[in-house]
Symmetry: C4
Subunit: 207 residues, 4 copies
């Protein structure tokens, strides 16, 4: 009765892994080497120190993308087969992930400037809101067409995941709004959210 | 009688997946961070808004490459073994895919300029025409040497794929020509083509 | 009694392989093409020769990252399952690996300048110290929760790996300190360390 | 008597595939978008046309790296297990492959300039000589320790591969020398060599 529809997820996972791995590794390219006007060791240390917004952006986005990869991984332990709408939703998800090096670079460029850093942080948060929406979309498509899911998943597990994804989206949206009040609180929310998602065990296992 | 010739496609698919995943993720590198002349939040939002041609180019090429990956995936559900001509044809295909970040950047640079955007859009379209030709070539090689195909594929399925690939090539060529009349129609054709290819189920299954 | 906890390592290894492969290949992007002020073959050869610090940086970091990949590979012949803390530790490890193109570029930019090269070499070494610490952390997490390890590993093998990882960390720290005395000795230590790690057989097999 | 030594090649092949796929896709990044001084469609077409050395470099290196990947693939149909020397030799091989985007960019920058293109072409060829040497080295290590090879390989097949690799190295060296006489002949030799390697079936099968 539960005949599988759609194709297996193997190559989709491999392709997605590739995009996650590349996006996370491209982050470093946005950190420019201190220019030719450096003539003493002290100048170099100082110039390397001045790049702290780049290190903050690199570390934060590395964690964010890394934890998104972990969650993507977890998602496809439930979704066992893919149809075309799911492939396209996953493509939108990867579009958000692949875009992240750009808002990260914008954030790094403006984080030290009090007059523009709120805008840069909000732009960064908006990208995460988009990505979180595509995670929700991918999950909804998978949940709706039950035959795409593995058979062992209990009803309560499904609900738990749905709630967690919705909560994450709300937190990303909140953090984006908070950027206009205080960028450090906004970025801390992103960090805590990444660590919470990274360390908590999978929903399906808990239930 | 149908002894397999050629090697299995596993590593070819993994290598191709890699090129698709990298090309799609490199697209973001063409979006430059707004320069140092920005001093207010309003300036930054305005500068980020002025980058709309970059976002259009990023989103369009992400979809185009993503859907090409989906179709490449589908193609190698039929082609089960590879010989050297097919490897080289696939290499030409990847050469087109890997080149796309360049015309995308050209498009993004010129899309806001009425006097050069037709040329930029035609150049973009020409790259897709080339890539579509290599898709056709790969398929023709696979179809000709029947022993490379999986055994379960019906004659009608073969014909359906052949026709679809030829139609896609004609559409890409038409969109390239239309670029000289109206770039928005040209780009819309590319978008619709990507969505049509992305959402329609595989030909072999339909027949 | 030894029921497996955590998930299998397959996708973690694939993702990590991706980050290693991308970081190692991005190294070349930091070598800029000699500019437009070159008009004779002699000028070009001279300009290409002047880039020797880039070649040193490229070759050294290629070996360092490559050998780290070999060791990561070896590590996950022991660690057979992953839990969330191990995933996050591995993410920190990849954060160090993915960062390496930046200190490599800093090193290449300053290696020919006697007044700044000590600082650049120390910065480079500090990144390796961080990465080595994350290797130790990943191993400690794996070793502590015995159920993550493969069952065939003898107690003595565990101890050997623990010692080797601690020794490597001490050597990286020493090399970083030596950078302030003599950069060539410091870089030689990094090179010897990479070759020693690269050529010596796995600890688990030796015991 | 033929107990396998060394580890299986799976992850080595995946890692190598990654480096090949990334190096081949990074080639496009060296093609810069025509600058802001372009105001008419004619100017843009002309600027895009002036980039022909970039297209030549892109196409040639794409074929060269792609065919090296095919040959690497073929090599590891014979070499079934890896030991540490072979891992390090393979790392040197990847170091040559990963370096290729740089000489390709140098070639593209100077190919239109009669006074510097010989040097640029020789530099390009020298990189291929290095890479070919590492291919030979990898094969020699594999051949020497017979237990690393698959058991089905006949003695004559071994000899055929050894000869082919040596011939390829000699051709690369010849092409590099010819660059000082005529760059077009030199580049044609590289092209023909790539096509010959790409289209000819594997040595082991022929014998």
């Amino acid at each position: 009765m539960n005949t599988p529809s759609g194709a297996p997820t193997f190559r989709l996972e491999a392709f997605s892994d590739g995009v996650f791995a590349i996006a996370i590794t491209l982050l470093v390219l946005e950190i420019r080497v201190p220019g030719p006007g450096i003539h003493t060791a002290k100048d170099l240390w100082s110039a390397l120190g001045d790049k702290w917004p780049n290190y903050v952006g690199y570390a934060l986005s590395f964690l964010v993308i890394g934890v998104m990869w972990i969650n993507h991984h977890a998602l496809f332990e439930y979704i066992k087969r893919v149809n075309r709408p799911l492939l396209v939703a996953n493509l939108l998800l990867l579009m958000g992930v692949g875009f992240l090096p750009f808002p990260t670079a914008v954030l790094a460029e403006h984080l030290a400037d009090p007059s523009t850093r709120s805008a840069a942080t909000a732009f960064y948060g908006a990208t995460l809101v988009f990505t979180s929406m595509t995670f929700n979309l991918t999950w909804w498509i998978g949940r709706k067409e039950r035959s795409l899911l593995g058979s062992e998943l209990p009803q309560r597990g499904l609900r738990t995941i749905t709630i967690r994804y919705a909560v994450a989206l709300a937190c990303y949206a909140a953090a984006t709004g908070i950027a206009f009040i205080n960028v450090w609180i906004s970025l801390s929310v992103h960090l805590v959210l990444a660590l919470w998602n990274g360390f908590s065990e999978r929903a399906g296992r808990d239930s």
